[in-house]
Amino acid sequence: MVTEQMTEQQLEVAEAELIPIYIMGKQYMVPPTLTIMKAMEWAGYKMIRGVGCRGGFCGACATAYRIQGDPKLYFGLACQTVVQPNMYLAQLPFFPARRASYDITKLEPTPTTLFSLYPEVLRCLGCGACTKACPQEIDVRAYMAAGMRGDIAQVADLSFDCIMCGLCAARCPAEEAQYNIAILARRLYGRYLAPRSRHLEERLEEIASGRFRAEIEELKSLAKEELVARYKARDIEPK
């Protein structure tokens, strides 16, 4: 079986090109073109924790790292970040953040809802540590500030690209669970605040009244030749 790993090995990396990285303190020599995730596999780790989509969408692979001689602490997604020489890596596949439980159908889209489910919103210090850590380049501090104002629509909008990786919460001195607050805001917005779609409501009524039944039954009964003919004849809505 051909695997992704084999495609990688075909790269035929020369010994001299390998660079040192440190996985939980232990040194490994790896090709410089790999992402952190693939470098760990190159080093021999069969990943179970800290891996999911491998494409920057699931937030399973949050990673903190330092570069030797550089006092700064960096954050990234292991599946999207290329290794650098002398990187010291630590995976943060799980972070125990608080999550409120609620029945979305019984909530009101008001600041009070946000504050009563997540009273800690009001304790945000505005320090910006979350924003610096976010691998999605979201201004987390800004959406938290919107949260303090009770502006649900703005929290929803600013936090939209959040992949719930937990890095912001890991860095927060006020012990916020930013991403859980954000998803509450988005759900409140989607259900209650977004403008209603009239055409959708109308279509639902038409379906309920059985308007399309006969047409669908007819299509289901057609022989293939006739179906093909109808398919070819269908008009295409312009772009």
Partner: protein, 535 residues
């Protein structure tokens, strides 16, 4: 500074030179006959030698990729003597798989009065659903109708789809959009509430609903959040893949054996009904293709269902998405969403010329890209030997105005900018990538299959899309059939009379395989691919 090496930049200049002219002209679409011809010549599904007929079981003789038969004919994790006398848990409905189909199923089963356990392989939501960018189809505009949607689905599937399944798909579609919205999914809308809807490959009406380019993530995280809100009715267990289904003396489903992914320990969960929602199989890398799929897409569900006697279908066709990233090396295989073409970007060869209509059905589009590279040598070859053609994304801003790309495709912009490529100014290099398992366990309209008590939903199933799925019909399928499975399973669980659990099916299975020449030696389901380096 451009992230592209100088040779590639030279070709980009040719792409730029033809752009103004190409804005005014689109390559014509193929006739059905031309489609047939290019598929035969260049689509991976038509390479006979990479397929093999399955040797045992109810679908004996069916062709599927060798990488898949090797696993289906593998060796079970446990033997028939595995102790079932002390289940670790008992429930009405056991949902296997924590993607969009599994989450939808769990919600509906709980709403219909069942006690639910959901087990999943990695974290809840580490799934293909999370990665879908483009959107979800539903015929909810006055210009459109479920009947038109029906024709698109069945034509796209080469007229091999099961009609009742297509009916369920298109008729449930608008109600599903409403359901998702009521759960809090933020669909893209005009200020007056009109849904923003786009074309997709093979659609005759604009009916692709999106949530920026995080459509699947928005649906997945919302469903997951809702499941977590119902902790009294639904128990979620992560890092707990199913490795074998269990029947009872009467041949009805009785639960599943799961594995603790970290300790390797096996345990039996007893259940009156089981919903299989384990997704696809991109990580089998058919024919050596890279894939867009998540780490756990290893065909587990097909293996599990087949061993207890559920017929399979349509597995001789896999979907290769026409546009996977071909550069840079770090993201090879990752999806470049169809929406990029939907918004007007054309595929062009290394001379900056068009060679295909941008929105052919996926299999046809993919075959055309392969022909341009391998058949006509008009593609680019990257420094690491990947083939590809350009997808001229900067056109989007010329058509729809500056800022469109950042607004409509933020995930895509971010993906490439991490490697120094600005897709608002430079095209992306693309090549087909393994994307979707069109077939799977044969499905019925109520989400049941031939094994009593076993329900199926999502990418693991076969029949809805025939031999080719159109974009946006999969997020639709997982919610439509996830919901149906949840409801059907709960109703079934209320009326079934369970008998004694047994693993007798494994004795029969092992014997048949022995007679057919032995198993392949692979312990299956394989659960995860092995990317570690073996020296």
């Amino acid at each position: 500074m451009s992230g592209y090496p100088p040779e590639m930049q030279e070709s980009i200049r040719m792409v730029e030179a033809t752009r103004a002219r190409r804005l005014k002209e689109t390559f014509p679409a193929m006739s059905l006959e031309e489609r047939e011809k290019i598929l035969n010549g260049f689509h991976p599904d038509y390479k006979g030698e990479t397929f093999q007929a399955i040797r045992v079981g109810v679908s004996k003789g069916q062709r599927m990729p060798v990488e898949l038969t090797r696993i289906v004919e593998g060796r079970p994790h446990i033997g028939p003597d595995f102790d079932l006398s002390a289940p670790v848990a008992e429930t009405d409905v056991l949902v296997i798989g924590g993607g969009g189909a599994g989450a939808s199923a769990a919600l509906l089963a709980q709403e219909h009065g069942a006690k639910v356990i959901l087990v999943t392989k990695l974290r809840f939501g580490d799934a293909n659903t999370m990665m879908a960018q483009g959107g979800i189809q539903a015929a909810d505009r006055p210009e459109d109708s479920p009947a038109i949607h029906y024709l698109d689905v069945i034509g796209g599937g080469h007229f091999t789809n099961v009609p009742e399944l297509v009916e369920a798909l298109v008729m449930d579609a608008p109600p599903v959009i409403k359901w998702l919205e009521d759960l809090g999914v933020m669909f893209d809308k005009e200020p007056d509430g009109t849904m923003v809807e786009a074309h997709g490959g093979g659609t005759s009406r604009k009916r692709m609903h999106s949530a920026r380019d995080y459509s699947g993530a928005e649906i997945m995280r919302t469903l997951r959040d809702e499941v977590r809100n119902r902790e009294e009715g639904i128990t979620v267990s992560e890092f707990s893949p199913a490795v074998e289904l269990v029947l009872d003396d009467e041949g009805q489903i009785a639960g599943a054996v799961i594995m603790n992914l970290e300790t390797g320990a096996y345990a039996f969960i007893k259940a009156k009904a089981v919903i299989l929602a384990t997704g696809g199989s991109g990580r089998l890398h058919y024919q050596g293709f890279p894939t867009t799929n998540h780490y756990g897409a290893t065909a587990d569900g097909v293996v599990l269902a087949y061993r207890v006697g559920a017929p399979l279908g349509y597995l001789e066709s896999m979907q290769y998405h026409p546009t996977g990233a071909a550069f840079p090396e770090q993201i090879v295989g990752l999806l470049v969403t169809e929406k990029v073409r939907g918004l007007g970007a054309q595929p062009v060869n290394r001379f900056g010329e068009q060679f295909v209509y941008p929105l052919e059905p996926r299999d046809v589009e993919a075959a055309a890209l392969i022909r341009e590279c391998k058949g006509r040598s008009n593609g680019i070859v990257t420094p690491t030997g990947q083939h590809g053609v350009w997808l001229d994304s900067p056109m989007i801003e010329l058509i729809h105005g500056p800022g469109t790309i950042q607004r409509a495709l933020p995930a895509m912009v971010r993906q490439f900018s991490r490697f120094g490529i600005d897709i608002t100014k430079e095209p992306m290099l693309v090549y087909p990538t393994l994307h979707y398992q069109n077939g799977g366990v044969r499905l019925k309209a109520d989400s049941s299959c031939d094994v009593p008590g076993l329900f199926i939903a999502g990418e693991v199933s076969g029949g809805v899309h025939g031999h080719n799925r159109l974009m946006g019909n999969s997020l639709l399928e997982i919610t439509v059939f996830g919901r149906r499975a949840g409801r059907s399973a709960a109703e079934y669980a209320h009326r079934v009379r369970p008998a004694r659990p047994t693993l007798a099916h494994l004795e029969k299975w092992n014997r048949e395989l022995e007679e057919a020449g032995g198993d392949t030696g692979v312990i299956s389901p394989i659960l995860l691919p092995d990317y570690t380096r073996h020296e």
